[in-house]
Symmetry: C2
Subunit: 205 residues, 2 copies
């Protein structure tokens, strides 16, 4: 009908949000700072995002798209690769300080919880599916009997990998280095083949 919303402002705001996260960290990031840095009025921010948390989710979600799953020739290699790149991502100050913060706020804000699930979790879950498909083609894993079982296994593996790496890096606050990754991958490989056998023996799940 009339003047459309400036898409330039959108990206300027998201860029400014990431830059401010790096510089000040989540707790000291304010809507005022972001607005000033983006060369935009504070009102413009509130016209597009209901809260600081929602803004940060969008600003950070894009960063997760850099996660890839290059084919390293084996399931072991693929897992070690994705763990490494995820750990690298978590070391960036933008993600490190804000990821836990938005999750924390989401425990009291259902809309934000859905927002995170769609923008980050579900959006990256294809990585697990892809790794699984590859392993099946290589004959390292067999396909699950029921489609529902397969989906639940993908969900489980995603929670285990993401959860373990996040916990190691941010809660235990110790490095996700080669030694840890090797050991974790060994654990996961053993677990996966165990799941494979268990679901082959019919009734299990």
């Amino acid at each position: 009908m009339a003047r459309p919303r400036s898409t330039a402002a959108d990206s300027a705001i998201l860029d400014a949000t990431r830059a401010t996260l790096v510089e000040l960290g989540w707790p000291k990031l304010t809507m005022g700072h972001v607005a000033a840095r983006a060369g935009v009025a504070k009102t413009t921010l509130y016209r597009r995002w209901p809260s600081k948390s929602a803004l940060v989710v969008d600003a950070v979600a894009i960063l997760f798209d850099e996660l890839e799953l290059p084919d390293r020739g084996s399931l072991r290699g693929d897992i070690e690769g994705v763990v490494g790149s995820f750990a690298t991502l978590l070391e960036r100050p933008e993600t490190k300080t804000s990821l836990m913060a938005v999750v924390a706020e989401s425990t009291r804000d259902p809309a934000l919880r859905v927002h995170i699930r769609e923008a980050i979790v579900q959006r990256q879950k294809h990585l697990v599916q892809e790794g699984r498909d590859r392993a099946q083609r290589r004959g390292e894993l067999t396909s699950a009997p029921h489609p529902g079982t397969a989906a639940r296994q993908v969900d489980l593996i995603f929670d285990v990998i993401a959860g373990a790496v996040v916990h190691r890096a941010l809660v235990s606050a110790e490095p996700v280095d080669g030694a840890w990754t090797t050991m974790f991958t060994e654990l996961l490989l053993g677990g996966l083949s165990s799941l494979d056998e268990a679901s082959d023996s019919a009734s299990a799940y």
Copy 2:
């Protein structure tokens, strides 16, 4: 020398903190609220805790002591038990809203990070060691070759269990129910025996 600090005030403050967490949640919890509820001046809070986060860590850490590892006769049973009780703990509003929040702030506050590690992580790590010892006595696992390897395995297992359950419950925001626990335990058992064999074959780690 003179008037000692009131221990009654200490516990009144911690109780008030938990109660306020339940009622208002982390984001709306203020030092003013806690002080008023505890029947204490705001100044008294700041004399003992440097920040809201540090106060909440102490208030919540005690709750983790209710985690137990009753002997269910098998490693499988023990794991399922501890996963269940951890999930129950995470469902309580005091922990749910505040755990991620303090971790988030700890990414920019080294002192707080150490505080969390000592009060929560290290304090509960004995559960893993205990489960492992039991499994060895039952003959379900063998002891690691080097003591350093054993310690690293305990750290890894702790991160995997705690991380996966937290991620499932708070990030994916889906229930840690019996089906999930069964599947996760199966994964972990397979992984543990795999680690066992790998570390038996000498040089591995």
